[in-house]
């Protein structure tokens, strides 16, 4: 009926009900003023009869109930005062039971009952028991719920709990518990029953209404939680089993969910811990549609917080084997609730893991066990597609990272990578990034090859293209960031022990080589440098540990380096490769491995010749080559000649004259190494410089020819500086007259350049001249040298 009625009708009925209550309350008050008991009872019963309506929704009914409730307070005051009605309370207790209708009768009985207990003329437990029993007569769910909640309310301060006035003698806290439990049980039954009323079409509305009523039921559990004197023993033996029995047996998803939540919230954590088994057993018996995972999650969260609250309680957890029990229960729940979405299972695992990490931070095996269970669950379903589930898995995997700041710990978890395998590629990458970030943040060093192997297994999403990845979809920036992270990671892999380090390098190389052309430019350099670092380390030790295998190891490393860099050719990325070859060549030179260094140079030259086409790149490359070659002193004369000859040759063949010029004068350094054992071929230096001058001249003329005016004299000045440099270094083939003539040449060039107008002062040139003047003035050996130069 109610379901079909409109909201307006309901308003009307409510208004009628309220009017009825007010009307009868008026007469009741008159009778109260006259102390006329008979009339009081008559009108109070009439007033309460308004509550017999079936037409109102719970919310409206509550409104009505509250109005009657206020009136009942007045009535209670009257009942308390025997002088006003002249009847002993025990007689009053009988008298109100004469009312013909049960609902008014029960409200009156509860009201008098509360007075009765207060008067202490009867043991409170007897009265309470009688009241809670008699309330059974009201089987209508809503009316019954409100009646019983009235009973709970008026009896709340009259329970024989410890420390209350009503405790003692035959009234024990057990009676209080018994009373509340019974009221709770009955209320829950009524509450659950609402769903069976009315047609199925209004199911949704019913659920909503039931939700509005749930706190009436839950209130009892709050009371239970607050009763003074319920100790662990009583809770374990009586309270919890009874409550759980009701929860399990009511077979209603709404009630089960809400009540489990209530239980977890209202009772102390310590009790939960001690009764974990019972609690979890109940969880596994809930209806399949109940969201057990939230319940369990809440439980675990609370326990985790409890564990975190004080280290003193941790031993309790151990004592009750909390982990094993939780783990078992979760397993069962997941097994039995087949409909539970994967995200639910994952949430559970996350909670369990959080719990484990907080309570048993030292038990890595537990963590691994959780992950293992997770793997089993994940394997049972097709590839994860639910993004929420994915998030949970990420959370699951992140938790150990956060807890153990040392990533190494996570690496020992054998199930960790197996869980990762179930992520989709995107998430896998996110996870891999998290791992790397964690390493960076904690500055933890991974120092064995095995761990490196595991680590790379974990982050393989970043290392190589996984099957089916659509390369084009990748965001360029993301990709770069990822690869930069990998590059940074490589530097974190370190071990003092060269042998182990070598293994690490092998492992890293193995993984990186699978990365494909896009990744190699990012990943190869750190690897190369890492290896070069090892080389230098070995070389530094080489003096001390004189062993056959040191060079052998070195050779091996260089071999790897060579192969590694070679891989870049597939990208192709010749500039980078060239730089790396040069680095290696230098390292090899430091190790006195001439053939190796020569080989690297060869590679570099080949690259230069075959791959580097861009003129700018060529310029840079030449300078690099020259710079490196200059520093290397391992080559024998022949090799060195070959190489320098090549370098000079390349220099002269550059496209632009200025570039040629600069490269050539740079080559001059190849013949004059400024250290005691260095080669000092002054003649060839001069040759180079002259050649540079010629080129500069040619360049100047070309400019003249094309633009009508010659360009700046920069090149000449630069060459002048080279002259001065070698002059100062004591190259016998550079004479002051050479410098003198060069200065004059520059001066003339500058004049002709700007015609007959002002002399364009070149800052570079002037500062060079200033330098010469300065040297002259300074005197001494250097000053003498400069003496012959006239400015």
């Amino acid at each position: 009926m109610r379901a079909l009625a409109g909201v307006e009708d309901e308003e009307k009925w409510l208004a009628e009900g309220i009017a009825g209550i007010q009307h009868n309350a008026f007469f009741m008050h008159r009778a109260l003023d006259a102390n006329n008991l008979r009339e009081v009872l008559k009108y109070s019963a009439l007033m309460l009869s308004e509550l017999r309506t079936s037409k109102l929704s719970p919310q409206k009914y509550y409104d009505l109930y509250m109005r009657a409730f206020d009136q009942l307070r007045q009535l209670e005051i009257f009942f308390k005062d025997e002088s006003r009605h002249g009847l002993p309370v025990v007689d009053l207790y009988e008298l109100v039971q004469h009312a013909g209708n049960i609902l008014p009768r029960m409200y009156l009985l509860c009201t008098v009952g509360s007075v009765y207990i207060k008067s202490k003329q009867a043991p409170s437990k007897d009265v309470l028991k009688d009241l809670v029993e008699m309330c059974r007569g009201v089987q209508h769910p809503i009316r019954g719920l409100f009646l019983r909640s009235y009973l709970a309310q008026v009896s709340r301060d009259k329970l024989p709990e410890i420390g209350s006035d009503y405790e003692g003698d035959a009234n024990t806290v057990m009676d209080a518990v018994e009373f509340v439990l019974q009221n709770f049980t009955e209320m829950n039954k009524l509450w659950v029953r609402i769903q069976h009323q009315g047609p199925g079409t209004v199911r949704e509305k019913q659920e909503k209404e039931r939700n509005e009523l749930r706190d009436l039921v839950g209130k009892n559990l709050h009371v239970l939680g607050q009763i003074e004197g319920v100790d662990l023993e009583m809770y374990k033996e009586t309270v919890l089993p009874r409550v759980l029995e009701q929860v399990v047996n009511c077979k209603d998803k709404l009630a089960q969910y809400y009540l489990m939540e209530c239980i977890i919230q209202v009772f102390p954590d310590e009790y939960h811990l001690q009764t974990l088994e019972a609690l979890l057993a109940a969880c596994t018996q809930l209806m399949p549609t109940v969201d057990t995972k939230i319940v369990l999650t809440q439980l675990m969260d609370r326990l985790s917080n409890y564990a975190a609250s004080s280290p003193d309680v941790l031993h309790e957890f151990l004592q009750v084997e909390a982990f094993a029990k939780l783990s078992n229960a979760i397993g069962k729940v997941i097994d039995t609730q087949l409909e539970m979405p994967i995200v639910g299972a994952m949430t559970l695992f996350v909670s369990l893991l959080t719990f484990t990490l907080r309570v048993h931070p030292d038990r890595l095996d537990y963590v691994d066990q959780v992950l293992g269970a997770c793997v089993v669950k994940l394997s049972s379903v097709p590839k994860l597609e639910d993004s929420r589930a994915m998030k949970q898995v990420v959370a699951l995997l992140s938790a150990p990272l956060e807890k153990y700041s040392d990533i190494v710990t996570a690496l020992t978890l054998s199930n960790y990578p197996r869980v990762m395998d179930h992520l989709d590629d995107g998430t896998n990458k996110v996870m891999a990034m998290l791992i790397i970030q964690s390493i960076m943040k904690n500055d933890s060093c991974i120092s064995t090859a095995d761990k490196v192997e595991v680590l790379f297994e974990l982050i393989k999403g970043l290392i190589k293209d996984l099957d089916g990845t659509n390369v084009e979809e990748l965001d360029e920036e993301d990709f770069q960031e990822e690869q930069n992270s990998v590059a940074r990671l490589i530097h974190m892999l370190d071990n003092e022990e060269p042998e182990e380090m070598l293994k690490i390098i092998y492992v890293v190389r193995k993984h990186l080589m699978t990365g494909g052309p896009q990744r190699l430019p990012f990943t190869v350099p750190p690897l190369v440098f890492s290896a070069v670092r090892l080389v230098r380390q070995l070389e530094a030790q080489g003096g001390n540990i004189a062993g056959e295998d040191v060079p052998a190891t070195l050779r091996k490393i260089f071999q790897i380096l060579n192969q590694t860099i070679e891989a870049l050719s597939s990208v192709p990325c010749p500039e980078l490769a060239l730089r790396l070859y040069l680095q290696c060549a230098e390292a090899a030179s430091d190790c006195d491995l001439e053939p190796v260094a020569y080989e690297f140079f060869t590679q570099a030259f080949i690259l230069y010749e075959e791959e580097i086409a861009d003129s700018k790149a060529q310029v840079t490359a030449i300078h690099l080559i020259v710079g490196t070659l200059q520093r290397i002193n391992v080559f024998g004369v022949e090799n060195r000649d070959t190489l320098t000859h090549k370098a000079t040759g390349y220099s002269a063949r550059l496209l632009k004259k200025p570039d040629q010029c600069r490269a050539v004068y740079a080559c001059s350094h190849l013949f004059w190494v400024d250290d005691p054992e260095g080669i000092k071929d002054g003649e060839r230096v001069l040759l180079c410089l002259r050649r540079a001058l010629r080129i500069a001249n040619a360049a100047q003329q070309m400019v003249n020819a094309t633009r009508g005016s010659s360009g700046p004299v920069t090149l000449f000045v630069e060459i002048l500086n080279k002259y001065i440099y070698f002059f100062e270094k004591g190259n016998p083939h550079i004479t002051p007259s050479d410098i003198q003539s060069l200065i004059e040449l520059i001066n003339t060039e500058m004049l002709s350049d700007n015609g007959n107008t002002t002399i364009h002062s070149d800052p570079f040139f002037s500062s060079t001249l200033r330098y010469i003047r300065f040297q002259k003035q300074k005197g001494g050996v250097m000053g003498e040298k400069y003496d012959s130069i006239k400015l």
Binding site: Q97, H98, I102, R136, G137, V138, Q139, R143, K189, H196
Partner: protein, 302 residues
């Protein structure tokens, strides 16, 4: 007018007083005209004694052929109005024929009167006790005065008082088991019990316990049966589910009940029933009636 009135007025005023009239308990009795009057209460084997005053009106004398007082126990059937049946009749002659000039008082006493039946006021039948004073006159008609009194008899609690327990039901529809703690209740008793629902397939709206009185009068083909519902007490509100057990606690005090009377002088019987009624949402009634015996237990106080 005054003369005329005077002519029909009885010549004297007769009043009856009981010996312990001041202290004796009075109980209300409903008269024919609906008025409630208080009458003294007696029980069987009591001595009924008192005084009768005959007070002639001013200046008149009453000639009579004798004065007597009778104690009558009468059963009156309403459908046979006016026809009293006296099951008890005791007579005391108070005066020999003569004349009364002034107020005259006669003491009387019926000692240890056997009054086996209780006063009863039913729908179709009345059982009453009355003192009848007759001043017999020859020609002017006798002067008669009545005084009702009430008789209630108390019995000890019955030695055997079994509970009533029964399982009833409609197949595949409703099965209940009910239990009342006794089969015999005294008039101030409390009916305790419970209703246990074994099977509920109908939508019950509420459940009441009715107390019904069945009064049968006459005998054979002339038997009249009248049933009244004296009490309707709601036991349950709403629909229970299987396994629910509903407590019963009904105080009998508020109801106007009498003891069960079985075959009173072959004239009538009064029986009481507890009628358990379940009403479903379509207002269909399901009920089960059980007889109980009511008896009057001596009250300790008052």
């Amino acid at each position: 007018m005054n003369f005329l009135l005077g002519a029909f007025k009885p010549a004297c005023n007769i009043s009856i007083t009981f010996t312990d009239g001041k202290n004796r308990k009075q109980v209300p009795i409903k008269k024919d005209n609906g008025q409630i009057v208080m009458n003294p209460l007696f029980q069987s084997q009591e001595t009924i004694a008192g005084k009768i005053h005959i007070d002639p009106y001013q200046g008149k004398k009453v000639e009579h052929n004798g004065v007597k007082v009778e104690l009558l126990g009468q059963i009156e059937m309403y459908f046979d109005r006016g026809n009293f049946y006296d099951f008890t009749s005791l007579v005391r002659e108070l005066d020999v024929p003569g004349e009364i000039y002034e107020r005259k008082t006669y003491p009387f006493e019926f000692s240890s009167v056997e009054m086996p039946y209780e006063t009863y006021n039913g729908v179709n039948v009345r059982l009453r006790y009355v003192l009848k004073v007759t001043v017999t006159r020859g020609y002017a008609g006798s002067i008669v005065e009545y005084q009702d009194f009430v008789v209630r008899n108390y019995v000890p609690p019955p030695p055997i008082n079994n509970s009533i327990k029964m399982e009833v039901g409609i197949e595949d529809c409703l099965h209940i088991e009910f239990e009342y703690n006794k089969s015999k209740y005294h008039l101030k008793d409390v009916i305790l019990g419970k209703i246990y629902f074994l099977l509920v397939r109908i939508k019950i709206k509420n459940m009441d316990l009715e107390i019904r009185r069945r009064e049968s009068t006459g005998a054979g083909a002339n038997t009249h049966v009248e049933t009244e519902t004296l009490a309707k007490f709601e036991l349950m509100d709403g629909a229970p589910v299987r396994g629910e057990s509903i407590p019963v606690r009904v105080f009998l005090t508020p109801y106007d009940l009498t003891p069960t009377h079985t075959n009173i002088n072959n004239k009538f019987s009064v029986k009481y029933y507890l009628n358990l009624v379940l009403v479903d949402e379509e207002d269909r009634r399901y009920f089960k009636q059980q007889e109980i015996t009511l008896y009057r237990l001596k009250e300790e106080t008052s």
